[in-house]
Structure formats: C-alpha cells, structure tokens
C-alpha cells in the first residue's frame, strides 16, 4: 500500500515536471561560451576593435578641429628690436577670453612690434621673426642666461623693483625648462655653410626668455634657425611653452563644452541556428473545457403579435410560473497571467408566461356616482364610455441557442480559491420567432481548484438585454434584465 501511494506521488511529480523547460537568462550563454572558448571572441569582443578604431578616429578629428582653434590662441610673442640693446620687456598677457595666451612683447623706442606665433603642438617651437633693426651685439663671453638675468635686473618696465620682479617671477615660474631646437646647435655649427652663430635673448619681467639662434652663412646672408623661449629664474621648471604645449590640451579636455560624438551601434541580426529540427516548445497555456448550468433565469422575452395590447401585467422578478435554465459548454483560454478569454455555446430553455389586455369591439357605458370632498352636500353622477378589454394569458416555452464571449480577470488568488470578475456579450437566437437577442453580461465569482486538472466555478451572473433599446411594438420585453447563478465544472483538455 505504501509503495502504491509512493508511486502515485512519484507519477504526480514526474508528470508535473516532465515538460518543465524554463528559459535561461540571455546572458547565460555568453558566460558559458566565454568559459569554454576563451580565445573565441564574443560578439562584443568582435566589435570592440572596430568601436575603438571609430573612437580613435573621432577623437583625432575632434583634436584636429580643435587644434585650429588652439592655433589662434597660440603663444603670441611680439618682438621689437630697438637700435640700442636696452630695456626689453616680455609681458605675459592673458587674452580677454582667459585662454591664458601668453603674449611676449618687446617695448622699444620706435614702437615697432612684430607678433610671432608659437605652435604648442610642434616638438620644437620655432619662432620666426624678421629683424627690422641691426642685429644686437652680444658679448660672447656672457652666457645667455646671465645676459638675460642682467637685462632683467636692469629692466625698467613697470614700477616694481628688480628684486620684487625676480621674486614674482620665481613664484610664477619656479623651474627652468628650455624648449629644445629640432636640430642640435652643434650639428649646425659643423655645417660647412655656417660661419657664425649668435644667440639672442629677450627677457620679460616675469623671467621669460626668448632666445634666438641665428647663423651667418659664408655668403654673408643672415638666417634664423630657431628661437627658444625659456624662463630663467633659478629653479624654474615650467616655461610658457610647456604650459601651452601640455597644459592647454588638458584645459581643452576639461572644458565643459567638450563632448564626444555619440556613436550609434546597430547590432547585426543573428539568425538562429537551425542545426536541429527540434520544435521549440511553446509556453504552456492550458485550455479548459467547462460545463455549467444556470438554473435561475429571470428575463422575459415574449413575442406578442397583437397591436391591440392595452396593458401588460407586470410580474415579479422571480416567478414560479416563469423559470428556466441554461446549459453552457465553455472553453477557457489564458491570454495573460491573470486574464482568461472564455467563449461558450449555450442553450436556454425557459417557460415564458405573460398576461395582458387587448381591446375588443364592445363598449360599455359606466355610470359613476361621486361626492364632492369639499362639500358634503355636493353630489353627482357621470357616465363614461369604456372599451371592454380582454385579458389574454400567454405561456410558451422559449428555446434559444447562443454564443457568448467574455474576458475573465483574477483579482485574488489564495490557496485553492481564485476570485474573478468577467464581462462580455452574448448573442442568443430564438428560432420560432426568428428573433436575435444581444445581452451584455457582467459576472463575478470564484473557482475552487479540486485537482490540478479540475476546478469548479460558482458564478453569479447578471445580464441585460440590449434589445430593449429597439422600438418594436410587437415584442414584449418586460424584465429585460436577468439574474442567474452559474455553476460549472472545468477540466483541463490541453
């Protein structure tokens, strides 16, 4: 006996899980695949190089585009050579847009100024300038830095004392970094065409030095090879060029207006593998077949082919003389987690009973005595002609077949009980009178699960005949509303 019980439980569980095939997460396969094929690039691995290339190209385009803007803000150095080597000032002047463009300007006696741009992106910032005056005589025994310091210390720019200027310069540019020429000077000196080298140094109040290397070739022509810009204060490390070259791009990157173009990646469509012709199992949506009966019916649909109906005697809602039942064969199909679609074929048999009066050809003169209520003495009589009516009682059995469709929504599920509401329409056809009736149905109820394949339903139902909206005089439609109690049992069929 024990084994028999055990077998039932075993069979029950095995049946329950025999076709249980849930769907794994989408990311599961990529995880497994990357573990079993570490050298095989995944989809993202395949497109990653392309994405990186596109990003690099876009970044390059962006940088090229912005470098032209940066060039406009390059270090702007104005040189003006006076006839006498004298006071030279190089100003670090930020532009109005606060782009920290340094402007080196030499003030001279004649006031001539020439501006030279430094490109911060080139490895060697070569400042081209044209000399308008005679070449400055440089004492070869004096080192450029010493000369520059000397010029700085003897400068008369502004009102600051020399020590103060030096201190200020050391504060701003504490280190010395010299921008190297592209070609070493020693190599150029050994060149057969170069006869003489000379270095020029211009010094600013903030210790910025612009030095120019020039050569005089054997034919006597003067040429400019390169210009260095450097700071000369002791311990200086950062020059303006360094700032321009390295800091400015970072400034650009920090700019709030800096945005990268968003790349739209369209994933290619991957066709599913069809190596095997194994059918994909659909999500299980069981279909249930129900049989139900509605023993109480209250509506009255009675056709009276008589235009002389004077009045209809209304009857009670529940009348023992007028009753019937309806049988439904219903199919239930889930359409959502908590929604079902139900359709059914129904047969209704109902005994209809009605009493009404029709007019006849007979007339009757009715004499009525009356007394005035306001005055006890006032009495009189009146004659009235009345049509003699005839009371007619009709009774017949109504047979209708119908098709019903509705949707069912579960709003509470507790243990075995499922509570629901539903609404739908029903078309019912009465063959004798060739009469079609359309009903609007509303119902609510609960289901009780007896077993995994069976449940019973108790469903109070209310319906209203939409035929009441027509003006037909030949159809008697008292009690167009209907109340019923539907009881059914359902079985899983699929």
């Amino acid at each position: 006996m024990e084994n028999h019980k055990e077998d039932i439980l075993k069979k029950f569980l095995q049946d329950t899980f025999s076709d249980y095939e849930p769907e794994p997460k989408d990311t599961s396969w990529s995880t497994i695949f990357s573990a079993i094929q570490p050298n095989q690039p995944t989809f993202w691995g395949k497109i990653k190089p392309y994405v990186a290339s596109i990003l690099v190209v876009l970044m390059g385009i962006w940088l090229c585009y912005n470098s032209s803007n940066v060039e406009a803000n390059n270090l702007e150095i104005a040189f003006n050579f006076s006839e006498q080597a004298g006071i030279i000032a190089i100003d670090n002047v930020p532009k109005s847009d606060n782009s920290q463009t340094e402007k080196i300007q030499q003030h001279s006696d004649n006031g001539q100024t020439e501006k030279v741009n430094l490109n911060p992106w080139s490895k060697s910032s070569i400042i081209k300038f044209r000399q308008h005056n005679e070449e400055e005589k440089v004492d070869e025994n004096v080192q450029p830095e010493t000369l520059a310091t000397h010029k700085l210390l003897n400068g008369r720019v502004g009102t600051l004392a020399t020590d103060e200027k030096k201190e200020l310069a050391m504060t701003e540019y504490p280190k010395e970094i010299i921008v190297k020429n592209a070609t070493p000077k020693e190599e150029l000196e050994s060149h057969p065409t170069v006869e003489k080298w000379s270095d020029k140094v211009v010094v600013s109040t903030d210790n910025l030095t612009a030095s120019t290397s020039e050569r005089v070739d054997k034919s006597g022509r003067l040429g400019t090879l390169a210009t260095d810009v450097k700071t000369i204060a002791t311990g200086m490390e950062n020059s303006i060029i360094e700032q321009v070259r390295y800091i400015r791009p970072m400034e650009s990157l920090r700019n709030k207006d800096f945005t990268l173009t968003k790349i739209a990646l369209n994933s290619p469509m991957i066709t599913p593998l069809t190596t095997l012709n194994r059918e994909a199992k659909p999500v299980r949506q069981h279909t249930y077949l129900s049989m139900s009966i509605t023993p109480i019916q209250t509506y009255r649909i009675l056709t009276i082919n008589n235009n002389n109906v004077q009045n209809v005697q209304t009857s009670k809602l529940f009348d023992s003389e007028r009753n019937g039942w309806q049988f439904d064969l219903e199919m239930t199909k889930p359409i959502g987690k908590l929604w079902n679609f139900r359709t059914n074929l129904s047969y209704l048999r109902m005994r209809q009973w009605s009493e009404y009066q029709v007019s006849t050809d007979e007339l009757v003169l009715r004499n009525t005595n009356y007394r005035n209520s306001n005055s006890n003495s006032s009495q009189g009589a009146s004659n009235a002609l009345e049509v003699v009516g005839q009371t007619v009682t009709e009774s017949k059995n109504l047979h209708m077949v119908g098709l019903k469709m509705d949707v069912q929504k579960f709003f509470k599920i507790t243990g075995r009980n499922r509570y629901f509401i539903s609404t739908g329409t029903q078309l019912m056809y009465e063959n004798t009178q060739k009469q079609s009736n359309i009903f609007l149905n509303v119902s609510g109820g609960f289901q009780y699960i007896v077993s995994p394949t069976t449940f019973i339903t108790i469903e109070p139902i209310a319906s209203y005949s939409l035929n009441n909206f027509n003006d037909s005089r030949s159809v008697l439609q008292a009690n167009g509303y209907n109340l019923g109690l539907k009881m059914g049992v359902s079985f899983k069929v699929k």
Binding site: L9, E21, T275
Partner: protein, 183 residues
C-alpha cells in the same frame, strides 16, 4: 537518437563553436528545469546551470557512447547540483522551512498554466536540503537508493528514511494548496 544529434555531439567534441551553440539551445530548457528543482532560488539555479554546461562542454570528449548523451548531460547537471549543495550546505541550513506558506501565497501566475507547477516547485524548493535532494533524485529523476547513497555520500538507510520523512512533508504541503496525493 537522431543522426543530427549524433553529428552535433561529434562537432561539439571537435570544439566547434556553432555546434556548441546549437547543443546549448537543444538542452538549455530541460537542464535549467532540473537546476530549478534542485536549487533553492532561481539565482542559485542559474549558477548551477552555467557551471554544469561548462563542465559538460569540457568533459564531452570523455563521452564514449554518444547515444547516451541525454542521460549523460542530465547526470552531469544533477552531480553539479549536488556539488553545489555540498559546498553551500552550511549556509542553506540556516534558511527555515517556514517560507512555504509565503511562497505558495505569493504566486501570481496564471491559474491555468504555470501556477500549479510553480506552486509545487516552490514547495520543493523550500523543503530542507536533504529532503529536497532525495525527493528530486528518487521521486522525480528516478534514481535508486543505492545510487543516491553513493552520490550524496550517505547510507541507503539514511536515504530511505529521509525520503520517507520528505515525502510526508511534501504531501502535507501539497495538501495545503489543494493537492491530495493519496488514495
């Protein structure tokens, strides 16, 4: 067994990525179903599922009888689930059995489709670890007590007694949600 499936297994043995993808698509549903039964949570079942598939692909070359690939993959998944159970047994035992009621009441699936099975699965998932393993192995996957004893490193007597207690507990919980599995 279909010729195509045999060819598929052979291609997987050759480490063919396309064949491996097809093999995964072929077995993913039923193997994840097994994992869901043996695991306590969905996240745990996903872990077992991935681990089992990696083992299957890495050990597929050891499969001699290709015709028995179905039972071989199923056995691999079950053994992976048991390994997983052994590793985390101490943590799992902290979880109480009282969650059954909450689990069964929180089901919102369609009453006519997955609700019944999910309810039963919820009960199995919340059974104590030992009971859950034995019930899965014996009642659903059809292993004998000798095999279970070997797999779980327990005696046959322990397997039988745990099955008996687990079965009673399962029936009791099934009865609570409307399944009376007795004559």
């Amino acid at each position: 067994m279909l010729e195509k499936e045999i060819q598929l297994v052979l291609a997987c043995k050759r480490n063919d990525p396309k064949a491996q993808t097809a093999f995964y698509n072929l077995y993913k549903g039923r193997l994840l179903g097994i994992c869901r039964r043996y695991a306590r949570t969905e996240a745990e079942s996903e872990d077992i599922f991935q681990e089992a598939f990696i083992k299957i692909f890495k050990n597929l070359h050891t499969l001699e009888k290709i015709e028995s690939v179905n039972s071989w993959v199923k056995s691999s998944v079950i053994r992976t689930a048991i390994d997983h159970y052994r590793q985390a047994v101490h943590e799992r035992e902290q979880v109480g059995y009282e969650n059954i009621i909450e689990t069964s009441d929180s089901q919102d699936d369609n009453v006519f489709s997955n609700l019944c099975r999910d309810q039963i699965l919820g009960i199995i998932n919340t059974l104590p670890n030992g009971y859950r393993m034995i019930i899965n192995l014996y009642l659903i996957d059809g292993f004998a007590h000798a095999d279970i004893a070997e797999m779980l490193h327990i005696s046959e007597g322990t397997s039988k007694s745990q099955l008996s207690r687990g079965r009673e507990l399962l029936k009791k919980e099934l009865l609570k949600i409307g399944y009376e599995v007795t004559n």
